[in-house]
């Protein structure tokens, strides 16, 4: 029977007792045969042999031996660490940083990339769209969706939704802006989500004339309705339309597109959005997104083919080919769609922390090698006493694993803190980041990484121990025995590896820092500093006519202009950097060939409407002509300013001022009005810093009123101090109008470059740590080499070698190794940086400037790390060095 481990102590006692009894019996018999007690005891012991050894080999038969040995080794390891606390501390700290960084990044990767989406059987969910490349857009017509829904053989269920947008909630205290999404009645069924309270949408509710129903998110239910269970059946007003609350979504519900939705309402969709009569076509375009659940066994490829086939059938007869350009169906796994483009960045970060850990390993292995030299005697004595190689390897590996586990525990603490930091400072666009935490999977990862680390750096001393020659070491009798050239070679290899690895990290970080710099160096075409923005949307019920809308905003801007601290105030339909809501119009310039609207690639421009103070509020430079002003009132000739891209697109060699074009800004049956260009303004980055600039037309609000506008205020002191004053002015005009999305332009700017900054900072941090470790490693190896050669240095100096000679000799040696490391690093970097192409902006992955700079910097660091030991070598006193011979 295998002996249970916990009874081992008792079993040990019993074994001793058994052997004592044996001895006692032998002794008694010897006495009986006439020996004196002393003789009897001696002969009994002689006959028995080595009691300890007999007990030892007996214990070997009990099983669990490996564990007992392990515990022994671990105890020994801990004792050893306590004997050299400095060494242990440095090792554990180094490993803690390496393992902690890995744990933190892995927990993010786990939450973002590996975690299943919170929907039932989420692996079968797909996101489908029609993608056109020119202009780039995803567009699914209601007709196509209806075709997909009724004609497919691949979906278990399919739903459409329109991305979350903002609504004003009234009737529950002060008006509030909430984000809501329209979904078809099948939406929750597709995802496999049930409301926690109330019911799901009914099929009749997503019909064009169906009843208006709303499902609330758990958060809104708690904050706006006090978690009242009687909320079901209550009527609330969303954008002044009454909706009946039918239920509450589960607490862990997540809407799609990584965008929160605070409520869901039915997407009341008619099956035909394209009407064709008498050769005239009318298309109602709605931005539809489609999510569906695949039947078991259906593949993405088969689904794509089927959707394309259905598109053909639906659109046949409608001559839309030219309008749609190369649009074709695309199907993605929902998980891939949700993650979007953050995968490469996260994988690069994960790879980078992996490198950091490898460098930490190399460093610790170096430390261990240095220590192994001082432990040669211990190893030799153990060998002489009969410890087998494997047993010795186990001892050393247990010691290193114990160190690594200690590092792992410290690393976990570090990671817990780092995760909080990441959640706070990482860019918003990383989906599911907020669920990152130290879960079981992450803990397991840390455990495995720690153990692997322990084995990896533990192999170095094992290797060194295997080369210890018992004879020589023991014969040397305690004097500094020359540790084998093997150990020194191992140290050099590790040093080269460290330099190479940190070089790669350094390059990656430098490239990211440079692209961040490039991105922030982009001139946005306006001055964002000290500008406050806030959205105001007028309820269309009360502000139906353009005159009402215009009057409201003109009066509001006047009031804001009068506020102390406001340099200039204006309202604009779209704000630069956030131009996602921009409208696009076809442009027919007077005197240029007539455009056929039913082909792809029709000449278009983005259109904007501003109050006259806009250009001075944002300091947009005027290039030619004049800006919009009071002359461009409601009844004046219709005037616009255009940007430089517009001039490049439409008037290559002509003076644009005074030119006229036809453009239709608002839907409606009336003929498009004619606009006259009165000025040219500088290009501004409307859709984000990295985006290309497209032609733009800006009209005056007096001539083209909008009901939803963004206020922009240039302030003389801190923009944030004006927030409450702005709210007061709006509610003084109409207390039912909410002010929302209040933001300074500086913040918008930061958000714009957030992911670049995050990547750059994270990788720069890792690289900095890596280079520091490498420097310490180089220093350690060189210092060790110098100390071993102090005798040789003494002889050289005694024979007349100058300080310069000695320094040069040591530096030479270190520099050669550094060169090899940098060479290897260069080769690796050329191969690896290509994987980062997607993360870079305005920098090629093999940017020569970066490579040269990093090479020089790293060589300088290596030289500096060699300098101290080299300098120390010159101070060897030849007398002392020779006396120790």
């Amino acid at each position: 029977m295998k002996f249970p481990l916990w009874r081992r102590a008792q079993r040990d006692k019993e074994l001793v007792e058994e052997m004592q009894a044996h001895l006692a019996l032998a002794e008694r018999e010897a006495t009986e045969s006439g020996q004196t007690p002393k003789q009897a005891q001696a002969s009994a012991h002689q006959e028995f042999g080595n009691v300890g050894l007999a007990a030892e080999v007996t214990r070997d038969t009990w099983g669990w031996n490996w564990l007992v040995e392990l515990l022994q080794d671990a105890r020994y390891g801990v004792r050893n660490m306590r004997r050299t606390p400095g060494f242990a501390l440095v090792t554990v700290l180094t490993l803690a940083l390496g393992i902690g960084a890995n744990t933190a990044i892995f927990s993010v990767v786990d939450a973002v990339l590996f975690r299943a989406l919170p929907y039932r059987d989420a692996g079968r969910l797909v996101w489908a769209t029609n993608f056109a490349s020119e202009p780039k857009q995803n567009l699914v017509f209601a007709d196509e969706y209806a075709g997909w829904r009724t004609q497919n053989h691949v979906f278990e269920n399919i739903a459409a939704y329109s991305p979350a947008a903002e609504y004003t909630l009234t009737g529950t205290g002060s008006p509030q802006r909430l984000r809501g999404a329209q979904v078809t009645a099948s939406f929750l069924n597709v995802l496999g989500v049930m409301p926690q309270l109330g019911r799901n949408f009914l099929p009749e509710e997503d019909q064009p004339t169906g009843p208006k129903a709303a499902l609330l998110s758990d958060a809104v239910w708690r904050s706006n309705f006090g978690a009242d269970r009687n909320v079901v059946g209550r009527v609330v007003a969303l954008d002044d339309t009454p909706y009946t609350v039918i239920g509450v979504l589960p607490r862990d519900f997540e809407f799609l597109d990584n965008s929160p939705a605070e409520f869901l309402v039915p997407l009341q969709l008619s099956d035909t959005s394209i009407q064709s009569a008498n050769g005239k076509m009318r298309i109602m375009i709605r931005a539809l997104s489609v999510v569906a659940r695949l039947r078991p066994g259906a593949t993405v490829v088969a689904t794509t083919a089927e959707l394309n086939a259905i598109n053909e059938r639906v659109l046949s007869g409608l001559n839309l080919k030219q309008l749609l350009g190369d649009a074709h169906a695309q199907v993605f796994l929902l998980h891939d769609h949700e993650i979007g483009d953050v995968r490469p960045a996260l994988l690069v970060l994960l790879g980078a922390v992996g490198f950091v850990l490898l460098i930490a390993c190399a460093n610790v292995a170096n430390l261990q090698l240095a220590r192994a030299a001082t432990r040669e005697r211990e190893v030799a004595i153990r060998g002489a006493l009969g410890a087998g190689r494997w047993r010795l390897a186990k001892l050393l590996l247990t010691e290193s694993s114990a160190l690594a586990l200690a590092g792992g525990v410290a690393g976990l603490l570090l990671a817990a803190w780092a995760i909080r930091l990441i959640r706070r400072f990482a860019p918003q666009k990383i989906p599911h980041l907020q669920v990152a935490h130290l879960n079981l999977r992450v803990l397991l990862f840390t455990l495995v990484v720690s153990l692997l680390t322990g084995i990896l750096f533990g192999l170095a001393p094992v290797w060194a121990a295997f080369r210890v020659s018992l004879n020589n070491t023991l014969k040397d009798g305690g004097a500094q025995s020359g540790s084998g050239t093997g150990t020194r070679r191992a140290q050099k290899v590790l040093m080269v590896a460290e330099i190479a690895l940190s070089f790669v990290l350094f390059i990656g970080a430098a490239l990211l820092v440079k692209s961040f710099h490039q991105l922030t160096a982009i001139q946005p075409g306006f001055d964002p500093h000290g500008v406050l923005t806030a959205h105001v949307a007028l309820p269309l019920e009360q502000y139906q006519t353009p005159v009402q809308q215009r009057t409201f905003f003109e009066e509001l801007v006047q009031r804001l202009q009068a506020l102390p601290g406001v340099a200039s105030a204006a309202a604009t339909a779209t704000v630069p950097l956030r131009g996602d809501m921009q409208m696009i119009s076809m442009i027919q310039v007077e005197g240029q060939p007539k455009i056929n609207p039913y082909v792809a690639n029709v000449p278009t421009a983005r259109v904007n409407s501003v109050t006259p103070g806009y250009f001075s509020a944002l300091r947009v430079p005027l290039i030619a002509g004049r800006l919009l002003d009071e002359r461009d009132g409601a009844d004046a000739p219709k005037s616009v300013v255009v940007n430089q891209a517009f001039v490049r697109r439409f008037f290559e060699k002509e003076d644009p001022i005074g030119k006229r074009f036809m453009a239709k800004f608002s839907p409606g049956p009336e003929a498009p009005p004619i606009w006259t260009i009165v000025g040219v303004i500088h290009d501004t980055k409307q859709r984000g810093l990295a985006d290309d600039i497209t032609p733009e037309v800006t009209a005056s609000t007096s001539q083209w009123p909008r009901f939803m506008m963004t206020l922009v205020l240039r302030t003389s002191d801190s923009p944030v101090s004006l927030v409450s004053a702005v709210r007061q002015q709006v509610s003084a005009l109409d207390k039912n109008i909410p002010v929302y999305a209040v933001q300074t332009m500086d913040d918008m700017f930061s958000a714009e470059v957030a992911s670049q900054r995050f990547n750059a900072i994270a990788l720069a941090g890792f690289a900095g740590f890596a280079v520091l470790l490498a420097a310490v490693g180089i220093y350690g190896v060189m210092a060790y080499a110098v100390s071993r050669r102090s005798h040789e240095m003494g002889v050289r100096i005694a024979l007349g070698a100058g300080r310069g000679n000695v320094v040069r000799m040591i530096l030479n040696q270190g520099f050669r190794l550094a060169l090899i490391g940098v060479g290897l690093g260069l080769a690796t970097s050329f191969a690896l940086t290509r994987l980062m192409t997607g993360l870079l902006f305005g920098v090629k992955p093999s940017d020569p400037q970066t490579f040269v700079l990093v090479t020089a910097a790293l060589l300088a660091v290596a030289l500096a790390a060699c300098w101290i030991p080299a300098h120390r070598a010159t101070r060897v006193d030849p007398v002392i060095a020779l006396r120790y011979e």
Binding site: E18, R28, N50, A54, V57, T61, G63, G383, L470
Partner: protein, 121 residues
């Protein structure tokens, strides 16, 4: 590290036969370790000497395999005695080891004293 012979059974007893000898001796009744070693020695005409460093590991090994069981008996000499007794499966094991042993000795004897066949001469 030099290669140093690990601890080995330093007895004249053939490797692998000790288990059989122990089982065989226990067939005549339960015994403690000391009595076992004495019995093996005297039954072999003082030729086989069982080293304690082999005896106790063997006893504990056989116990783990379930061929013998041990119990503690009080004794007049002070420490309790651990007395081993053969089990049913131990008896079976003994039989199989004996037959193996007999085949082996017969085979070895055949080699040492070959029966000359007519055809070969």
């Amino acid at each position: 590290m030099s290669s140093k012979p690990r601890y080995q059974n330093r007895t004249e007893i053939l490797q692998g036969t000790l288990d059989m000898l122990i089982l065989q001796t226990l067939q005549w009744g339960p015994r403690h370790g000391y009595a076992l070693s004495k019995a093996i020695r005297s039954n072999s005409g003082e030729i086989l000497k069982v080293d304690t460093g082999s005896l106790y590991p063997a006893l504990h090994r056989l116990e783990r395999k379930g061929w013998i069981v041990a119990e503690w008996k009080a004794s007049e000499i002070g420490p309790r005695l651990r007395v081993y007794r053969l089990t049913k499966s131990g008896t079976r094991q003994l039989l199989s080891e004996r037959s193996r042993w007999e085949r082996l000795t017969a085979a070895i004897a055949g080699i040492l004293n070959p029966v000359r066949k007519e055809s070969e001469s």
